[in-house]
């Protein structure tokens, strides 16, 4: 089991960001998390890497009880996860190359290992040409690929990406999803949140729909298009 949420609630104000959420994701799965803004997708992701704590319930990631890990234990969990956050995925004053290298140095890679690893992931995401550019010089799609490259630099078994296709045109969005599917084919479990109906339809993967802090439906991989239609109608994508 890569991820398991048991009766998880997160309280924010009266309504709460998550209410009694249950979710299981097997190792090697590719999962879309869909839902309107404010549905609780980011909150759910933050639970997975321990930036938020559940008010109630249990959060298990890669066999570890994240809901009761101490702050000093979180880094070792996060080294097994690739995280593409929704906001500020890149350091603005560092080049693409430096952005990826920075994370590796911070967890103790030596210079030659850093060089080797950065070159590998840049090739994987197709950003060799842009290695020396600053985030501000990149297109939206390139910036997302750089963020994904940084997240997978450590070769983690679990990758979570929070709305990596936000503000991207359809073709570029699909390129990003193709990249994530490729990373999934190499063995990593991938969970990605999105609003984008077209790419979800095209990818034919498991879809978990959220609305106002709850999971409304969970359509397995290869589910019927009708089910998806109902799902979209219910979460108003």
């Amino acid at each position: 089991m890569a991820v398991e949420l048991k009766q998880v609630s997160v309280a924010y104000g009266e309504q709460g960001a998550l209410r009694r959420v249950n979710l299981r994701v097997e190792r090697g799965e590719f999962v879309f998390l869909v839902g309107a803004t404010g549905a609780g997708k980011s909150t759910l992701f933050k639970l997975l890497y321990g930036e938020r704590r559940p008010t109630e319930g249990e959060v298990w990631v890669l066999g570890q009880p994240v809901h009761r890990l101490k702050p000093r234990e979180l880094p070792f969990l996060r080294r097994q996860m690739g995280i593409v956050p929704q906001d500020y995925p890149l350091l603005p004053r560092k080049t693409v190359w430096e952005n990826i290298a920075y994370g590796l140095r911070a967890i103790g890679y030596n210079e030659s290992a850093v060089r080797q690893r950065v070159a590998q992931v840049l090739a994987l995401v197709g950003l060799n040409e842009q290695a020396r550019q600053l985030p501000s010089q990149l297109s939206g799609g390139e910036a997302q690929r750089a963020a994904i490259a940084r997240a997978i630099a450590n070769n983690p078994p679990l990758l979570i990406a929070d709305e990596p296709t936000a503000n991207l045109d359809p073709d570029t969005s699909w390129e990003i999803i193709e990249l994530l599917l490729r990373i999934n084919l190499r063995g990593a479990t991938v969970i990605v949140s999105t609003h984008n109906r077209t790419i979800v339809d095209r990818a034919c993967q498991r879809v978990v729909a959220m609305d106002r802090g709850q999971i409304l439906s969970d359509v397995p991989r290869g589910g019927y298009p009708m089910e998806l239609d109902r799902l979209y109608a219910s979460v108003l994508l």
Binding site: G50, L74, P75, Y102, R105, A106, I107, Y109
Partner: protein, 291 residues
């Protein structure tokens, strides 16, 4: 390991380059605080040395008239020792005193050809400091005696000076040190805020709390260290100038024992600064660096 150290130092350097004004404020306050503390420390050390070099509260120095013969001097010594209040009287013959004086001043003046201007001296020790004024008074009445010096007044001056320095130096120095600590804390806090994204990226890739905090702690230590080094330099410079001026004004100061060794100041103040800076930076990171 080398790569690791390079990474941490580079991060520290990046931190220091932010908020130049804040850095300057923190460093200069630390510097002024440490100057006061260092200066007070040096002065106290010197005053302590001076106090212990002064004749004790039990002693009075009795200078005889030049006309008094050695025989009369010895008679007086015997008479004084017969008094109830006197524990001991010691004669320092004028030739011996002169020889000592010549040696002490040998570097500055050649006294070889000058006739001995010094009188015989009796050092009188009483059993109880309270009796010293009365004994001094009584000795003064002897026709053989030119002058009686009891050093209690001088000792009192030195001691009250020492108290003053302690209050002003340690009090003001302590207050300023507190201000410096708050400024360093605040500077580090602002750096942490200005590097929120770096902190987050490091946290997301799984950098340990300790390694995320270390550059900020080193930043605080550097501020304290630089402030302390500046303070040490300025304090020693001021002390050198002041002591030159004072020994020129009052030759007797040359007889005082040497002050605090410069090396102690040179190493002590920066170390103290670095420790304090590191401590409050550490405190700031505990509060503001979260993952």
């Amino acid at each position: 390991m080398i790569d690791r150290i390079r990474f941490v130092l580079h991060e520290t350097w990046e931190s220091l380059l932010r908020n130049a004004t804040m850095q300057a404020a923190a460093i200069s306050t630390a510097c002024i605080a440490l100057i006061l503390l260092g200066g007070a420390g040096m002065a106290l050390y010197k005053l302590d040395a001076a106090a212990s070099a002064l004749p004790s509260q039990f002693e009075a120095e009795v200078f005889l008239k030049m006309t008094a013969t050695r025989e009369q001097a010895l008679q007086l010594k015997a008479e004084l020792e017969s008094w109830q209040a006197v524990a001991q009287a010691t004669l320092t013959p004028r030739e011996v005193a002169w020889e000592e004086q010549k040696q002490k001043l040998a570097a500055d003046v050649n006294l070889a050809d000058i006739p001995n201007p010094l009188p015989d001296k009796l050092t009188v020790r009483v059993r109880d400091p309270e009796q010293l004024p009365a004994v001094a008074e009584r000795i003064q009445q002897s026709p053989l005696v030119d002058e009686v010096i009891d050093s209690r007044a001088e000792l009192q001056t030195v001691l009250s000076l020492s108290r003053l320095v302690r209050w002003i130096g340690l009090g003001a120095g302590g207050l300023l040190l507190l201000a410096a600590l708050i400024l360093i804390y605040n500077t580090v806090r602002l750096t942490i805020f200005s590097r929120q994204r770096e902190v987050r990226v490091m946290a997301l890739v799984g950098a340990t709390l300790r390694s995320i905090r270390l550059p900020f702690i080193l930043e605080g230590m550097t501020q304290g260290l630089v402030g302390g080094a500046l303070a040490a330099t300025l304090t020693l410079l001021a002390a050198a100038l002041l002591s030159d001026y004072m020994t020129e004004q009052w030759a007797f100061l040359r007889d005082l024992p040497p002050g605090l060794p410069p090396l102690v100041v040179l190493v002590g103040l920066p170390t103290l600064g670095a420790l304090m800076g590191g401590l409050c930076a550490w405190w700031a990171t505990l509060r503001y660096v979260r993952i």
